[in-house]
Assembly symmetry: C2
Homo-oligomer: 208 residues x 2
């Protein structure tokens, strides 16, 4: 369904140059997601990653210098994948509100399929604060950009800015935590309907 | 300004029985907030806490058995304080929307004064997952209860439920992260206005 992005070059000079290299790097990052997601940063190990990937230890060092470095590459990779999943969901003509709804649905679907994303991104706050911050700042910027476009097209009201973007991101993140990570006791349709209804009309009773 | 709550008894049988004991326990929890907030769980130490509190090591063990236990008591204490700060802000007659706004303003004020709360609660996801979960579940329940009341009084629309409460909590948490912890480059008034405007009317342009 979703395109898996070309992995981000982890260190300058260590980018894979062949398709086979890119596949190996992808496998290492997926194995790192499983290893860090299951064990957490401190208990995760490089041999745990290579053993999951079925690669030699030396292969790991072709792409990464350390556990810190593969963790950083993984957070950036997760961030990229969330971005791409949302972008793919937005193909075609859609109203601005439908766009927010589709972006949330795509994110929730991704989170259900990759529950480890919360633990990994959340642990980045402690292990790699710069990546943590960049993940949320770039996500909020993308939402802010959509709000700006929606304002220009006349669908969204004027005066929406960064704070509104952060508010929407927070809604999405916590809905994912509750309904994708902790439990799946509501459908993605129900959850996106709740969020979209807030964005459409707020929570107050409308006059008339 | 705000009432500091009576500290939660950390372990059964270790509750302070005197006013002096309660003050000592309060001092230990405040020192634990400073120690865990500055160093994180793994680098924080019991002697770091008692040294900040100006108490003997033995005094610590009057109330807590371990670093894990004081951390758990601290997360619960932070959770209680957020609850009490919000509750105090809600004294008197207020519309349901004004109530949400006042609760957010109170939370943001608390977060600016106690920036360590984010690191401590966020680290609880890894150090003490049950307390992490309880903090957000009880916070969402309180918001859900206010939504229910607002629905009964006719101010909020019908059909608001748990997902709406989680969405509102997420908004509040991420606005706090961005505008209290990372930077204070907007006033609490501006931030609460952005959030309240979403709750009042969404982000779409209203017809007419």
């Amino acid at each position: 369904m979703t395109t898996v992005p070309t992995p981000v070059p982890p260190s300058s000079g260590k980018e894979p140059r062949t398709e086979r290299g890119r596949r190996t790097l992808r496998k290492l990052l997926d194995s790192a997601a499983a290893e860090f997601g299951e064990k957490g940063f401190h208990d995760a190990s490089i041999t745990g990653i290579t053993s999951r990937a079925g690669t030699a230890l030396g292969t790991f060092y072709t792409y990464f210098d350390s556990k810190d470095e593969v963790f950083r590459a993984l957070v950036n990779d997760m961030s990229d994948r969330v971005r791409m999943v949302a972008r793919e969901a937005l193909a075609g003509e859609m109203t601005a509100l439908a766009t927010e709804r589709a972006a949330l649905a795509a994110f929730l679907g991704f989170a259900r399929d990759h529950k480890e994303i919360y633990r990994i991104v959340d642990e980045a706050e402690f292990v790699d604060p710069a990546s943590y911050r960049r993940h949320y700042e770039t996500t909020a910027q993308r939402i802010g950009e959509r709000l700006r476009k929606g304002g220009e097209s006349g669908e969204f009201r004027e005066g929406l800015g960064e704070a509104h973007a952060w508010a929407i991101m927070g809604m999405n993140v916590f809905l994912g935590l509750r309904y994708c990570i902790w439990s799946e006791d509501a459908s993605i349709e129900e959850i996106t309907e709740a969020a979209a209804s807030i964005l459409q009309k707020g929570i107050t009773r409308q006059p008339g």
